[in-house]
Amino acid sequence: MRIYAFCVYLFLYTPIGIIALFSFNAGRHASQFQGFSVKWYGRALNNPFVMEALENSLMIAFTSAALASIIGTMAAVGLHSMRGPVRAIFDAVIYIAIMIPGIVIGIATLIALVTVFDVVNPWLAGLWADAEAAPQFSMGRGSVIAAHTMFTMALVVVIVRARLSTVEGALMEASADLYAPPWVTFRRITLPLIAPAIFAGFLLAFTFSFDDFIIAFFVAGSETTLPIYIFSSIRRGVTPEINAIGTMVMAASLILLIVAQLILRRDKKT
């Protein structure tokens, strides 16, 4: 049994380990290790295309995670005070959103956005005197942010809901009993108590958005995010530079995930 488990882990982590290892390869071939070097990291960080893709990815991840945290928290708090079938239906819908494969969300979002743009853009053009100057919606950062927000919001809702269910209902009643109107109760009692969960949700949403290739690939239009850049570079062959980028992305994601887990775990203890 132990050997079996060992094999499974070996199978899972060897490719990742090799990528990390070869990112430090001094030579330019992926198959031959020719001494230790960090030059590929330097090369990657000096590549303007990489930096642009990274900047896009960071901007998209930050914005979508922030939006998802705000909207997701509002949804979670709203759902928490609901009872009966409405709540059950919303719960089910949220879990389904998490379980649906990324490719389905990608295609569905693409079709939905294209349909909406086809309706809205001519209408906008009609509103402006000069149709050429009218603002037009198109695929790009905005559409990736929208798609990521939609998906990661479900993660935030689930995490915040879990935390909310451990907050004693009597605390809200006590606050109301001490003359605090609902908004004050939310700001002074509910929000501080669920803040760690919101932050953990934000980190998970950020990681998800930062790593996501499938959904972004469908709705990014001409915009390039880091995963899209990696994917397109790989078609020209795996270089140590790609390994370096991949290792950095992986390290950043792992750190965020670990931080999120630590926050949630410490939160459970108190």
């Binding site: 006590a174 606050s175 109301a176 009993d177 001490l178 003359y179 605090a180 108590l193």
Partner: protein, 379 residues
């Protein structure tokens, strides 16, 4: 006046002492198909210590929560200081509650917890006013100097005091206490009972306590409201409830009692005679509302029965079945051929005088006729 909740308004608004602080008028509350409270009528007097007493599920907590504003009555009116407050949310009511779980805010310090209600007042009190009141409240509950402590650093009894301080610092018109002592151990509970009573007297705030502990209700309250199945069964002073229970339920719930079932054979004013199943009769004081022929019972408190070692007029011969030493009292379980098993509580003095009995001893029981209460048997 009720639109703006003014904690601390007690001082100005006390004017008419005869006006009840709060009233329930024909109040009913149902949760779905469950009737939690039925036709409650009660007026709470300024400055009194009132308890809702009953087993769990009797509607006492629902009644309290309707006063606090956490539940809205399905029917009837809840009035505070003469005004109907049915639709007034809890944060606008001049009442404060001490929760069973204390519900202290875990992310705030002791001082911040206590200051919470003060900070909601308009006009907003200054920082100095708030901290002065917080310190004073902490002193009142004998926790001076605990301002900066965290909630989880405090023991259960200390948390209880903080919860109390957090409520009284606002000088509510009505302080609601939902089983506040249930989580404390017996000794601490006794201590807190005394402190609660002192606090109520020195502050002059009206206290409304919910409890299932009859001893607690008896020792603390000016008046007790006994509830059962969502209804108020009897309202009265502890003494009235104990000495003049309105029904067998009250006699059984408040204190212990011996019951002898039968039907009323004759009635003359307050006095009546009950005929037991085997034909013998027992006389006693009749609760109001009973008439000849009603199924009723005689209630006899164990301490009002005397155990004697010689026969006297009207005494019933018994055999001692069991003897339990209770400290200041000794409880005897005796068996009479005519009355069945009877519990007798003998004070320690009686034992010192040499009238102590052992298992199997023969003895006689007697009681004064006015100690026997004839009550409706409703069970």
């Amino acid at each position: 006046m009720m639109q703006e909740k003014v904690p601390g308004g007690t001082q100005e608004a006390e004017g008419d002492a005869s006006m009840p602080v709060a009233e329930l008028r024909s109040v009913s509350k149902s949760f779905g198909s469950v009737l939690a409270a039925r036709d409650l009528n009660l007026s709470i007097r300024q400055g009194e210590f009132l308890s809702f007493l009953g087993p769990s599920g009797c509607g006492k907590t629902t009644a309290l929560r309707m006063l606090a504003g956490f539940e809205t009555p399905t029917e009837g009116e809840v009035r505070i200081a003469g005004e109907v407050v049915n639709d007034l949310p809890s944060f606008r009511r001049p009442v404060n509650m001490v929760f069973q779980s204390y519900a202290l805010f875990p992310h705030l310090t002791v001082a911040q917890n206590i200051a919470y209600g003060l900070q909601q007042q308009r006009p907003r009190p200054t920082r100095e006013e708030v901290s002065a009141k917080v310190s004073e409240a902490l002193e009142t509950v004998r926790l001076a100097g605990f301002e900066g402590r965290r909630i989880w650093e405090m023991s259960g009894g200390q948390q209880q005091r903080v919860a109390l301080a957090r409520a009284i610092v606002n000088r509510p018109r009505l302080l609601l206490l939902d089983e506040p002592l249930a989580a404390l151990d017996r000794k601490l509970r006794k201590e807190m009972q005394i402190e609660l009573q002192d606090l109520q007297r020195s502050l002059g705030i009206t206290f409304v306590l919910v409890t299932h502990d009859q001893e607690e209700a008896l020792s603390l309250s000016d008046r007790i409201c006994v509830m059962r199945g969502g209804r108020i069964v009897q309202i009265g002073s502890p003494r009235e409830l104990y000495d003049e229970p309105a029904s067998k339920y009250v006699a059984d719930f408040v204190g212990t009692s011996n019951f002898f079932e039968g039907s009323i054979a004759s009635k003359d004013g307050e006095q009546a005679v009950l005929k037991l199943a085997d034909g013998q009769t027992m006389a006693g004081t009749c609760a109001p509302g009973l008439s000849v022929g009603d199924k009723a019972c005689v209630s006899l408190r164990p301490e009002q029965i005397a155990l004697e070692n010689a026969a006297s007029d009207g005494a019933h011969p018994v055999t001692v079945l069991n003897r339990i030493f209770l400290g200041e009292h000794t409880e005897y379980l005796v068996s009479s051929e005519t009355l069945g098993n009877v519990i007798v509580l003998a004070p320690r003095q009686a034992e010192r005088a040499g009238t102590s009995y052992n298992k199997g001893d023969k003895a006689w029981i007697t009681w004064r006729e006015d100690a026997a209460r004839i009550l409706l048997s409703e069970q």
